[in-house]
């Protein structure tokens, strides 16, 4: 499979088939909390996409060069200290703390940026902007990348190495497409909830009840995309 078709498959997979929100059920809190108005939801989607991209870039870099077993920088450090030519060290115990660190910092960055340039959006986000810090969708993307980077040899820095391990291209594709999928899901949800304002709902279902029901039905609808990746890879002449 060529790099291009692999990237297309990763993108389609992350955005629709295995949508972060509707397939893996991560990132539910902003999905429910900020999906009241379409413009707010779109802003949230953009913020999450940005944070996922920055976090993915940084976490891929750290994982690839420092944290994974046999990472070049770590190996170099170990070899120069011990003097053995084949000595290596596995720093993957640091994975989680580094990802959390990276995510928290990029959220801080986004918060300052949004506050400066989109004060209205900043106000409507309220507590949900800092809450991206603990948004599982972003940590999920980082962990997904970690899983694919740590599998062993291959996968050059730009992903064109042809090995099993992911390069930066695959990682960034997953992150951006995942963020796009989150945006799609939350905007659809906000559109439905705007219409819901005009509906005569039973008292017991108002608020979170009907929202969660709709989220479930949306997830069912997105199940319809499963299998699309096989067809796509067939179309692109690859063997899945």
């Amino acid at each position: 499979m060529t790099l291009a078709s692999e990237l297309v498959l990763i993108a389609v997979g992350a955005a629709v088939i295995n949508n972060f929100v509707l397939h893996y059920f991560v990132g539910i809190c902003p999905f429910i909390g900020v999906s009241r108005r379409v413009d707010m939801a779109f802003g949230m989607g953009c913020a999450v996409t940005f944070v996922i991209s920055v976090a993915a870039l940084l976490s891929w870099t750290f994982t690839f060069y420092i944290l994974r077993p046999g990472a070049p920088l770590t190996s170099w450090a170990v070899r120069s200290v011990t003097g053995k030519a084949d000595a290596t060290l596995d720093l993957s115990i640091l994975n989680y703390i580094v990802y959390i660190f990276v995510i928290a910092s990029s959220v801080q960055l986004v918060e300052m940026y949004v506050r400066k340039f989109f004060p209205r959006l900043y106000k409507s986000f309220g507590v949900f902007l800092p809450l991206i810090t603990t948004n599982c969708a972003i940590l999920f993307a980082c962990l997904e990348i970690m899983k694919h980077v740590s599998v062993g040899a291959g996968g050059g820095a730009w992903g064109a190495g042809g090995g099993a391990a992911w390069g930066l291209a695959q990682a960034m594709t997953l992150a951006i497409a995942g963020g796009l999928g989150f945006t799609i899901a939350i905007v659809i949800m906000a559109g439905i909830r705007e219409e819901l304002d005009h509906c005569d709902l039973p008292e017991a279902l108002k608020g979170p009840g009907i929202t969660l029901l709709i989220a479930g039905i949306l997830a069912l609808a997105f199940m319809g995309f499963s299998g699309v990746d096989k067809t796509l890879s067939g179309l692109m002449g690859g063997a899945q």
């Binding site: 420092i66 060290l89 720093l91 580094v98 660190f101 910092s105 960055l109 940026y113």
Partner: protein, 305 residues
């Protein structure tokens, strides 16, 4: 050896990461710095934080911003009243003007028994819906008793008692939600210049016989009050309107005469109950308030709501 090396390397990685991120964030906080007026935060802290919208702004923070930036009046907060107005004035270094707390007055005095020609309304139990249908009761001006105001109140201060909206002035903070929601516009906000205020407890604009046909207690429009005091005027329709700008709690002689003259007793004092009022209901039993004992897992308290 390997373990020691690993600990050192791990520490070094975290240190480098921290230095890098700290540098980026430090740069960002300088580049994206936003100038904010510290007084906004102070004013916001002084406000009650009820976010009721009584001041005309969305929430307390919006009002705080308007006070600081757009030189809005400091006494708009109805919940906080005079004390909050003074606090805000101290923060901003301005003087508070004379201000009165606004409280709602229900311009209807007829309970179910007094309202005539009531039909068996089986539609949606809201005033807004009932007001669209004609003929739910004879009087097209008065309270429908379906409690839109009660549901709109966030302070549990207005209740439908025997079909008539009744304000609990002890709990009321004057946010004006009930006055906004009433589809028949019979709740108005009255400046409480004294603890007890005179109001016209009827909104029927018709005259004499037509009022008699629909209500046992409605104002007939006889204009006796207007003859007794210039506080009352009949601008349009047959209902007296009290000019609260002229209203002076210390000079109520004319109003007292009008109060005595009104044949239907539609002029009423509302607000804090007098000792006489309290005496009149002294023999009535107060509901016993049961406090739940949360130590027991089985809650056997009674519901007396």
């Amino acid at each position: 050896m390997t373990t020691a090396l690993m600990i050192i390397l791990a520490g070094a990685v975290m240190l480098i990461l921290a230095a890098f991120m700290g540098h980026v964030l430090g740069w960002a906080s300088k580049t994206f710095h936003v100038e904010t007026d510290p007084r906004i935060e102070q004013v916001n802290l002084a406000l009650p934080g009820a976010n009721c919208g009584g001041c005309g702004y969305v929430g307390c923070l919006e009002y705080a911003e308007a006070v600081v930036a757009a030189s809005e009046a400091v006494d708009k907060c109805t919940v906080g009243g005079a004390s909050v107005a003074k606090e805000i004035a101290d923060i901003l270094g301005v003087a508070v003007g004379q201000s009165w707390p606004f409280r709602p007055a229900v311009h209807c005095g007829a309970n179910f028994a007094s309202r005539l020609k009531r039909s068996d309304y089986r539609g949606e139990k809201t005033c807004a819906s009932a007001n669209i249908v004609s003929g739910i009761q004879g009087c097209t001006y008065g309270c429908t008793g379906l409690g839109d105001c009660e549901r709109s109140c966030r302070f549990d201060a207005i209740h439908v008692v025997d079909g008539l909206s009744t304000v609990d002035y002890e709990k009321c903070v004057g946010c004006g939600a009930c006055a906004k929601v009433c589809p028949r516009n019979i709740i108005s906000m009255v400046p409480f210049k004294a603890e007890r205020m005179l109001v016209v407890a009827c909104a029927n604009q018709d005259f004499g016989r037509e009022v008699k046909n629909v209500c046992k207690v409605g104002c007939l429009g006889c204009k006796a009050c207007a003859r007794a005091s210039d506080l009352f005027s009949f601008k349009d329709g047959n209902i007296p309107i009290i000019d609260y700008d002229k209203y002076d709690p210390s000079a109520m002689e004319g109003a007292e005469v009008a109060l005595a003259k009104c044949p239907m007793k539609r002029l009423m004092m509302i607000g804090k109950p007098t000792d006489k009022d309290l005496e009149a209901v002294a023999d009535r039993k107060k509901p016993k308030v049961v406090t739940a004992d949360f130590k027991t897992t089985v809650d056997d308290t009674e519901w007396l709501g």
